[in-house]
């Protein structure tokens, strides 16, 4: 459980985020398959990490589908969550 052979899970080929399979700390280094990522924030298990640089307003792609957009530029290795992304349609923050 606590020592997975993979630290992150990519759910689609086009995705620009991955799901963390362990709690990640600042400075951790992920080297898995084609990925080489330096972790920039503390990211809890189950949360998302950027695997590509994402510009403001660019789509967040998970499962190969657009699940929302960035409301600020996001760097590779950054925590991707409600502080820097928003759903394209109604979401808690917009209501």
């Amino acid at each position: 459980m606590t020592n997975p052979t993979r630290k992150v899970l990519i759910l689609g080929e086009r995705d620009n985020i991955a799901v963390c399979l362990a709690d990640l700390s600042v400075g951790d280094f992920i080297e898995q398959d084609e990925l080489k990522i330096k972790v920039l924030n503390l990211i809890p298990r189950g949360h998302k990490i950027a695997t590509k640089a994402i510009a403001k307003d660019e789509g967040i792609i998970k499962y190969g589908e657009r699940m929302g957009h960035a409301i600020a530029p996001i760097s590779i290795g950054e925590h991707v969550h409600v502080h820097n992304i928003l759903g394209d349609r109604l979401s808690a923050e917009q209501v």
Partner: protein, 387 residues
């Protein structure tokens, strides 16, 4: 090349993956009698329900559900237990129109006593069971599989383990020519535009969006705004950021294949492909809708675990996390929690689910079947008004 499957061929061209003899009470008061007959028989199955012939706004939905269920291709023969309401005849005629060829109808007022009814039903049931066991499976094409996709008791891992892994298996089956049906309108709310974009033509996409809007209107009618509070605080703590993300986690049971069409609750798909069926979020009601829609095998992903099974459809249980799988091994067929632990990939677990579906389609019993879990519930849209 040998055929991928062996199944029971029905007169109307449909395929059965099982050869059940079903005892179906057409009035709730005959439910325990139906169970007793099945329990005493050589292998017949029964369901119970709570409809007592009320003629309210749900009448058409109930008749449609029971007709569809009674004629599911996994059934060799159905024994109806009737009390004499005119709707009972309608249900039986409906089942015949949908392909049921072998059946008996036992009318309590004609037979005159519960004891005689039970005895007669038991004799008939054992006769059918004997005939059914003499029937052999024959080579069947991939289109023989009509898979139902279901989830219940979801957890934070559902959307990254069991659901997308099931999607891998569903995609493989659809690609080969089988059918797969996604349900649970509640769960795709917020991702309907993404599913609609995968429709084979704009009319199908429009219908998916309309079905969700129709559901949403009925919820708003009850004074609940379901989108406003999504994702919930617990979801956000777990890492989900948007409503689309949450709904995609459920909808990914249907993988990435294009949607061939939409189905009303309990409607039977006409050509092979991936479908969306408008079903309620309640697992057992949805399972009844799947049975009525002639789905013949179900995969059920769960985070909390559940004994749920069906009298007529083999139901394969997949856990989203390993601790749950290990805690109730007699209920769960496969574990997808290995994905979250980084041990297996989505593709690997997806392939295991695919293989399990094929084995179960060919006759391997699921844990729910071995445990004799035969759940059924009618789905209603309105409050019952007795007239």
């Amino acid at each position: 090349m040998s055929a991928p499957l062996k199944a029971y061929k029905r007169a109307n061209g449909a395929w059965g993956l099982r050869n059940q003899v079903l005892i179906l009470p057409l009035h709730s008061a005959l439910s325990s009698t139906a169970r007793a007959i099945a329990d005493n028989s050589d292998g017949a199955v029964a369901i119970s329900h709570d409809w007592s012939g009320e003629k309210d706004n749900d009448l058409a939905r109930i008749i449609f559900t029971l007709s569809g269920y009674a004629s599911n291709p996994n059934i060799f023969a159905t024994i109806f237990l009737s009390i004499g309401n005119p709707e009972e005849e309608q249900i039986i005629k409906g089942a015949q129109a949908l392909g049921l060829t072998r059946f008996s109808n036992l009318l309590l007022p004609e037979i005159g006593s519960m004891e005689k009814l039970q005895q007669q039903a038991l004799t008939i049931a054992n006769g059918y069971v004997k005939e059914a066991s003499a029937e052999v499976r024959v080579d069947a094409p991939w289109s023989a599989i009509v898979l139902g996709l279901e989830c219940g008791g979801s957890d934070a891992l559902s959307g990254i383990t069991a659901n997308p892994a099931l999607g891998v298996a569903s995609d493989r089956l659809v690609e080969l020519g089988a059918s797969s049906v996604l349900g649970e309108t509640t769960e795709i709310l917020g991702a309907e535009h993404l599913l609609a974009a995968r429709a084979i033509d704009p009319a199908v996409g429009k219908k998916i969006v309309e079905m969700v809007a129709r559901y949403e209107d009925s919820i708003n009618y009850e004074g609940i705004d379901i989108r406003g509070a999504q994702p919930s605080r617990g979801n956000i703590e777990g890492g989900l950021s948007t409503l689309e993300e949450k709904s995609l986690g459920a909808a990914k049971k249907a993988g990435n294949a294009p949607f061939t069409g939409t189905l009303e609750f309990g409607e039977i798909p006409k050509v092979a492909g991936l479908y969306f069926m408008d079903t309620p979020g309640h697992d057992i009601e949805q399972l009844a809708g799947f049975g009525a829609g002639h789905i013949n095998v179900v995969v059920f992903t769960s985070g909390r675990g559940t004994p749920t099974g069906s009298a007529i459809m083999p139901t394969i249980k997949v856990s989203t996390n390993t601790p749950m799988y290990e805690s109730i091994p007699d209920l769960i067929d496969l574990d997808a929690g290995t994905i979250a632990d980084g041990i297996e990939t989505l593709a690997e677990v997806g392939d295991r689910i695919f293989d399990e579906i094929v084995h179960v389609a060919n006759g391997q019993l699921t844990k729910a079947e071995r445990g004799g879990h035969h759940e059924f519930a009618l789905s209603r849209m309105y409050n019952t008004v007795v007239r």
